[in-house]
Symmetry: C2
Subunit: 258 residues, 2 copies
């Protein structure tokens, strides 16, 4: 209703300095950590979250924690059940099928837009993420690899700069990351080769986005997806579809997180 008023300089000396972990509120750190634990399956799909336990762990009270859980529900990390609390989003065979339908379309569209709209600053962040991704592969760190891969593709999502596609991409990345954690095995030779190819494709993404080649970026997204799809299917199809995924709420109780 009014023009942008000049702010008092009080705020400046508090906000700046370090944007690192220390300045951030406990609430934000709680949300971020819950996301991380869900993505790495430290919190298993289908498990229920205890409000009291979590709020004490992060030293906040339950009302703000419940706000966080509502937000995480909106982002697709958890599902809320009335009077029964928050459940880590389950992964069923139906969600897998839906994932296979939606992923190539959204990934291709987002990668195309990213090549068209990426800023130099974003490209720098993408390169940083790629360095961390390769380091995690080299160290055989499953969780970090999964998280850095997620960050890489999330940055591409930011580059696309489209608020209508972003929520679907985020939802896809959550489950793609969790699936990647499920099937990770550092010793398997075939998988190691696939990871090497994936890392090379990431470098190609950087080059194509930097060159602004939208068509090639979209094509690469499809190729990148096909690689991942083949890896997933090599686990899912042979042994009769018994995937070690979380259970749906209707199934066994499986109460309790940790």
């Amino acid at each position: 209703m009014h023009a942008v008023t000049v702010r008092t300089n009080r705020v400046s000396d508090r906000q700046e300095a370090a944007v690192s972990d220390e300045t951030r509120s406990k609430k934000a750190m709680c949300a971020e950590d819950l996301r991380r634990r869900i993505l790495t399956q430290a919190l298993e799909p289908g498990s229920y979250l205890d409000e009291t336990e979590i709020s004490e762990a992060y030293q906040i009270s339950r009302p703000p924690l419940r706000e966080i859980l509502r937000q995480l529900a909106g982002e697709g990390y958890v599902v809320l059940h009335e009077n029964r609390g928050a459940q880590v989003a389950p992964m069923t065979h139906k969600t897998m099928r839906n994932f296979f339908v939606a992923a190539p379309m959204i990934y291709a569209a987002v990668s195309r837009l990213a090549a068209q709209h990426a800023t130099p600053a974003q490209i720098m962040r993408l390169k940083d993420a790629q360095l961390l991704f390769r380091a995690a592969i080299r160290d055989g760190d499953a969780a970090t690899r999964a998280l850095m891969n997620e960050r890489f593709h999330a940055i591409i999502g930011e580059m696309a700069d489209n608020e209508y596609l972003a929520p679907s991409l985020r939802r896809l990345l959550i489950d793609h990351t969790r699936i990647g954690m499920t099937f990770y095995s550092p010793r398997n030779r075939a998988l190691a080769e696939q990871r090497a190819v994936a890392a090379d494709q990431h470098d190609q993404f950087i080059a194509l986005i930097e060159a602004g080649d939208a068509d090639a970026s979209a094509d690469l997204a499809i190729a990148h997806w096909e690689l991942s799809r083949a890896e997933i299917e090599s686990f899912v199809t042979p042994a009769g579809m018994q995937i070690p995924l979380g259970r749906a709420p209707g199934a066994e109780p499986e109460r309790g997180a940790s």
Copy 2:
């Protein structure tokens, strides 16, 4: 002394029976009403929401209201600003451009899946929504028309039954509905003709979905989109892009004015 042992009769059958206002909690009604007011632009894009005012209006306390606002933020209805409260999601020229990019793709994909997966019960609900939609057009009721159109397409989204595409569709429908409200004018002859065509296309959607014709359903989605796009552009392009939309918080000077 707590003389409150008044036991409400078993809540087992609270879900079915009447979906009317009485059974639902005040909290759920508050959320639903806020959504409705945002979709109809009774709450204008960019306007800020007062927690105390709203919580008193719906007779709930602020903590549960804040949970609702977090959820609405996750759904894309509002944007939260730290220490500055919730703002009705603004609509800028950039969001319009992004809308034009994402809408045809998502609409086509969802319509295709809907034709593949729709259940008889869902088709019945779709027909009901269509009746209400036509009634609203006949009565010249802008808000109801917009809401029933939103409901129609939201049901198609449910039919698609894909949790990865659903969030993007929801986000699109929010702004599509708001845009439709903005440009509604019951007297304009050309627009009345467009609405008639749109209503007929809805009937075609029902027929194609009932027949399970995925390809035709996807094609119809594109045609339906083109109709809506032409209507929007007839307002946006001629008079020099001055759209009566809400403003962004930062009031950025809108870089790259096409």
